[in-house]
Subunit: 252 residues, 2 copies
C-alpha cells in the first residue's frame, strides 16, 4: 500500500495517454481535497467548516470516479492504483504551494479556488485530445457537475468556496481589492506549474496539440509547433480563470 | 447556510435525546475528518496522503448517515441540519486541541486516533441508553464498520491511521515509547473533555445512566448517583482505549 510498484492496479488495456491524464486529474483532486480540508479545519464558524469539508469530500468522490476508469480490478484498494498513476505528478505543486503560502484564511481559500480551477481546466482541455471510448469516459467524469448547495455554473468541489469568497468580497471593498490582487498572483504561479509540467511530460504536450487540432484552433498554420500549442492552452486557461473571477465579482 | 436557525432542518418527531446524541456524534466525525485531513496534507508520502484522505472521507460518510437520521427532509442540504444539531458542541474540543497541540506528525496522528477513539466510544456507550427504533438506528450507524484496507477490529475512519502508527511503532523502539507516553497524555485530556461535556449537558448524563442500567452495570446499589455513572463511563472508555493501544502495540 505504501509505494507504487510499476503499474500496480492499472488495467493494462487502458491507453497510456488516458493513464497519464487520469493520474494528473486524480492528483489535482487530491490537492483540492487538501486545500479545502485545511481551510475547513481553521474555518471561522461551524457551518463554513462543514461546507468546506463537504467540498473536500466531493473532490475525493471525483478522484475515485477517475481512478475507477483505469483500475484493473473493481475491488482494488483505491490507494494502490492511485499511488501508481499519481506518482509522476508527486511534488508537482510543491513550488506552487511554497510561492503562494499565506496565513490569511480567505487568501488560502482563493488559492484553492484559483489553483484548482486552473488545474481542472487544464485537465478538461487535455481530455479533448483523448480519442475512443476511454477518452469519452474521462471527459464525462471531468465535466460532471458535482452536487452542491450552489450547483450550476460553479458546481464542483469548490462550489462552497466560490460562494463564500463572493460573499466576503461583496461585503468588503478593501478585501475585494486585496483578493483580486492575490488572485492575479496565484494564477500566474498556477500557469507556471502548467508550463513546467508540459516541459517535463511530452505526453501532455501531445494531448494538448491533439485537443487544439480537434477544437479547430488556428495555431498559425501549424508552423508554430509546441510553442503555439502552449500559447493556445494558456489563453484558454486564462479565459476560464477570468470567468471564474467574474463569478466571484473579483477583478481578474 | 451559514448559521443554525433554531431547529432548522431537524425532523420534529425525532426524540430530543436522539438529536442530542446525533449532534455530538456528527461533531465527533467532523473533528475526525479535520484531524485526518490535516495529517493527510502534511503526510510524508503520496500513498499515506491518499490513505488518510480516504479515512477522512469515511468520517464524513458516517457523519452524513448520522445526520440523515434526524433530518426533516431527504433533500436537505446536510450543512443545515448539521449546523443545527452540532451547534451545542461547537468549540467543545478547543481546549483539547490547545492542550494536545504538537508539531510532530506521528503524535498528531495518534492524537486523532486516541481522541476520536474516546469520542466515538463515548457516543456508542451513550447510544446504549436510547430506546425505540430511532435509538436502534443510531446504534446501527455508530457500530457499522466502515470499509477500509485493514477492515476488521479497527475498521473505521482511522483504520489507516491505526495501521500506520502500528507500523511506525514496530520499526522504532524510541518512537514507540514516546508515542505510548503521548497516548497517555492525550487520553487524559480526552477523558477531561468527556467529563466537561457531562457537566454541561445533563441530557448526556441521563443517557449514560440509562445505558448503565440497561447494561446491568452495578453502580453501588444506585446510591452513587451521577458520580457512579461517571465512574462507570470513564472505566468503559479507559478499557476501550487500552484495547486500542494494544492493537497498535503501544503500552496504554
Amino acid at each position: 500500500m505504501m509505494s507504487p510498484r510499476g503499474a500496480a492496479g492499472v488495467d493494462p488495456s487502458v491507453p497510456a495517454p488516458v493513464v497519464e491524464l487520469v493520474g494528473l486529474a486524480a492528483y489535482t483532486e487530491l490537492a483540492e481535497f487538501g486545500l479545502l480540508a485545511a481551510r475547513s479545519v481553521d474555518a471561522p464558524d461551524l457551518a463554513t467548516r462543514q461546507a468546506l469539508a463537504d467540498g473536500a469530500d466531493r473532490a475525493l468522490a471525483r478522484q475515485r470516479a477517475l481512478l475507477a476508469l483505469v483500475s484493473a480490478d473493481d475491488g482494488v484498494v483505491p490507494g494502490v492504483v492511485g499511488a501508481t498513476v499519481m506518482a509522476p505528478f508527486d511534488h508537482a505543486l510543491a513550488d506552487f504551494d511554497a510561492r503562494t503560502d499565506t496565513e490569511d484564511w480567505s487568501e488560502g481559500l482563493l488559492k484553492g479556488v484559483v489553483g484548482h480551477g486552473v488545474a481542472q481546466d487544464f485537465c478538461r482541455v487535455l481530455a479533448g485530445g483523448l480519442g475512443g471510448s476511454s477518452g469519452r469516459a474521462v471527459r464525462q467524469v471531468l465535466e460532471r457537475p458535482a452536487p452542491g448547495p450552489e450547483a450550476g455554473a460553479d458546481a464542483g468541489a469548490d462550489a462552497e468556496a466560490i460562494w463564500l469568497l463572493a460573499r466576503l468580497a461583496a461585503a468588503d471593498d478593501v478585501l475585494s481589492s486585496r483578493l483580486a490582487l492575490w488572485g492575479r498572483r496565484v494564477v500566474g504561479e498556477a500557469l507556471g506549474v502548467v508550463t513546467a509540467l508540459l516541459g517535463r511530460r511530452p505526453a501532455l504536450v501531445e494531448l494538448a496539440a491533439e485537443a487544439a487540432a480537434r477544437s479547430g484552433a488556428d495555431l498559425g498554420g501549424g508552423s508554430g509547433g509546441d510553442d503555439a500549442v502552449r500559447s493556445w492552452l494558456v489563453a484558454r486557461l486564462t479565459g476560464e480563470h477570468t470567468r471564474r473571477m467574474d463569478r466571484m465579482r473579483l477583478a481578474a
